[in-house]
Symmetry: C2
Subunit: 305 residues, 2 copies
């Protein structure tokens, strides 16, 4: 079956809407503004941003549909046959920076890529996933998060969850720090192995499950009391987020290199960030335990149902 | 004449000392801490950091001497003959983030690189320069800065200042923003054309002139009254600094890729930074004039002596 780009686009626009609505409900006061844009080379998008909410200090949920006449080499090292060919990418990407340091930052992305052809069948694939970046570790949250991830992909194959979880741990690892960015979740890319209909259904399942995975954690932690110490720790850890996004993240670097819309690509950056030279948490503190214990990749579900 | 790495190293250690002392005097209360480190693969360094000073919110002055057994390709595209050869780099790099938004951020770097050989004469070169990143434009400061730059290199050739100024404007340009990082100054790399003795003398002249170029500007602006609006503008512009350093700066990327000491490389990042989606200064404001008028590359000295 030929891939149906229009159906994917329609789904993604709905997904953006429903995620924004759910986040607004959880926030209580913050509202998403919409910024529509077009790209001279073709395509465009709708960036939605909530700034200065009660719960969410900054949340960006971006839909984009970008087309190009020649695929940049950075996007196609695994598929040399389509380098330089016309391409089109449609996706929703979101990053949420909560105000309260006990609420984790989260990121999700679902995307569809199609390239090639001159008469031949096009190459296409889906990618997606979500990952969680806590500043303080709560086992209950980590287990719930990974359980939601497993449930989202389980109907599509018994092996997928383990594969996507491992890929997520590997992808969100800051090589120059020797640190995981967070506790991971799901990550897949270049995915076409189930055929278009099922690969699309998997991607919908991942996209649709995000809100149900994240918001219960937000609800549980958003009223936790915190002070300067926790805020400072959060702002420093956000520095790692910036480092990852600008030094390593493939989506960010591809967007920047392919002449994407800078402000939409960099909406992922946190509202306020600190860098303090040589800052290391006090041994034995909750801040130290985050890296020493909590962020170690592990099987959070173990034998749990 | 064979290059004398030891003399360069000795000079750079003295330069680090004298710059730190001058900055401490200007700050009044802040003091530089010293962090000595060694690298398992060879070499090491001394990173000096002043945090939370009266005038300087964060200032880092780093000496490093790094040796490697195989030059990474990213360092040698212009010199394919030395790719994969043993190499050694010694340098001083500094970034100063003042507290008052009317005081510009500044950066300077002088470095010496030597590589190659197996019996053959080694390839070596100097690099260096300094550049200024104001948040508010003052013509008096820009003229004085560029005059000091011209004076530092004038004894070594009439063409050098124009060449190094243009190279600086080109290097410190954020491609994804279509914006200069600041008003430039001097930038050179891969410099051996005057032979070792004169190329080293040029580099000393550039290194030695930095304090005299920067501190008078600091002294002139450090007591200027400012409020939330100016501070917010400063923190947003610092975001551009982070973007440049992590997305484009060759020294940063080479350091990160070659397994350099992360904390020393990233000491350049500002202490506190904001990213606000779609933030644009009010038309006609001083903040708007910075980009629209002041940061346009131009001949600041004109016919001035």
């Amino acid at each position: 079956m030929q891939p149906d780009s229009t159906a994917v686009r329609t789904y993604l626009l709905q997904l953006q809407e429903s995620i924004c609505s759910a986040l607004e409900r959880e926030d209580g006061t913050g509202r998403f503004a919409a910024d529509d844009w077009e790209r001279a080379e073709g395509g465009g998008g709708r960036t939605r941003i909530l700034s200065g909410g009660t719960v969410f200090e900054k949340a960006g949920v971006a839909f984009s549909h970008v087309v190009g006449t020649a695929l940049p080499p950075s996007a196609s090292t695994r598929r040399p046959d389509i380098a330089g060919k016309p391409w089109s990418a449609v996706g929703v990407s979101l990053v949420i920076h909560p105000r309260n340091p006990f609420v984790p930052t989260s990121h999700a992305n679902v995307r569809f890529f199609i390239a090639g052809a001159d008469g031949a069948a096009p190459a296409w694939w889906f990618g997606g996933g979500w990952d969680l970046t806590p500043f303080y570790g709560f086992e209950e949250d980590a287990v719930a998060w990974h359980r939601a991830a497993r449930n989202a992909v389980a109907p599509f194959g018994a092996q997928l969850h383990g594969r996507f979880k491992t890929a997520c741990d590997e992808y969100f690892f800051l090589r120059h720090r020797g640190e995981p960015r967070g506790i991971g979740g799901l990550f897949y890319d270049d995915f076409d192995e189930l055929g278009f209909v099922k690969s699309f259904a998997l991607t919908r399942s991942v996209g649709d499950a995000f809100v149900g995975a994240y918001l219960p954690i937000v609800a549980r932690r958003k009223a936790t009391t915190y002070g300067e110490r926790e805020r400072e720790h959060q702002l420093r850890r956000r520095g790692r987020y910036v480092e990852f996004n600008l030094l390593q993240d493939r989506g960010t670097l591809f967007g920047i290199q392919s002449g994407g819309r800078t402000e939409s690509i960099l909406m992922s950056l946190p509202p306020l960030v600190r860098w303090d030279y040589g800052a290391v948490p006090k041994p034995g503190s909750a801040e130290a335990r985050l890296l020493e214990v909590f962020l170690k990749p592990r099987d959070w579900l173990g034998g749990r149902p």
